[in-house]
Symmetry: C2
Subunit: 144 residues, 2 copies
DNA sequence: CTAATGTCTCTAGTAACTATAGGTTCAAGA
DNA sequence: TCTTGAACCTATAGTTACTAGAGACATTAG
């Protein structure tokens, strides 16, 4: 049986985060030692590794919750898991596209800067006056 | 003088968001009508447009706060504003790079899926076992 | 004048943690 | 055996940038 600190070391997930995952039901309530400290078996370690890897790939916790539920049913079709991964792929691609548009505009702001006074500053100018900006980003909103 | 609703229409920033910006000091406290409703002059409209455009470009509110302070000093050098924009450009590029790595891995998970049973599922398999994953993402953490 | 719409304040909720306070347990060395 | 220090416990609040809701007041069109 592993303490919460060993779990944290083995997975790279911080101790408070493990407790948080338990609190929101992503990990089952851990067993406890005589002194009330959490103790984990190997399957809990695997579950936590699964969660961590999925988080690294950008899956939101709710999607991970669904994936964990699915992985507990080995006889079912994996179409549902596939759908979740596809959604995530779409989300990642959409984010990349939006960020690349931002990159272009930021790059232009920065390269046009001539290090003069604030009153001539490209950065301030473009931000204050959308006309100076060739890129139309009416539909954008920054969420990451 | 514009009501808060007109401001929202003119800029695309929602009414509660405008109040929020005032609350955190990004917009100055608005004047009020006899009936205690907010009234804005044209310079407040420009300030809000500036904020919105900067948000669309992904600047965090704290960076915008700094940019607004700088833009109020037209005689100073614009080097500080330039630095903020450069930082933002770096942040955007780092995000793009990380998301592209995720894209590759998600794509592989999805295309390898053969729609069998959960027990053979690539998606679940890769998430549960980092060995199946050719991409090393030890240093990643998903923040958007 | 009335009805509909707009606005007010305040509180709480979102995602996914992180930090802090104040206390308890455990493992190792003297 | 005692003690020290690290690791652990709970509970609450803070983070970012808003969004949603309740319940009351203001304004405007007809």
């Amino acid at each position: 049986m592993l303490t919460i600190g060993k779990m944290a070391n083995a997975t790279g997930v911080k101790v408070p985060t493990i407790r948080y995952y338990e609190q929101i039901g992503l990990l089952p309530d851990a067993e406890r030692s005589a002194g009330n400290q959490r103790l984990y078996a190997k399957n809990a370690l695997e579950r936590l590794r699964f969660i961590r890897h999925a988080r690294e790939l950008g899956f939101p916790l709710e999607a991970i919750r669904d994936l964990l539920a699915l992985s507990d049913k080995p006889d079912q079709s994996c179409a549902a898991a596939d759908a979740i991964a596809k959604r995530q792929l779409q989300a990642v691609r959409a984010r990349i596209a939006r960020l690349q548009a931002l990159e272009v505009e930021l790059q232009r702001m920065v390269t046009q800067c001539e290090h003069g006074k604030m009153s001539d500053c490209r950065v301030i100018g473009v931000l204050g006056n959308h006309e100076l900006c060739q890129h139309d980003h009416a539909e954008e909103s920054f969420t990451g």
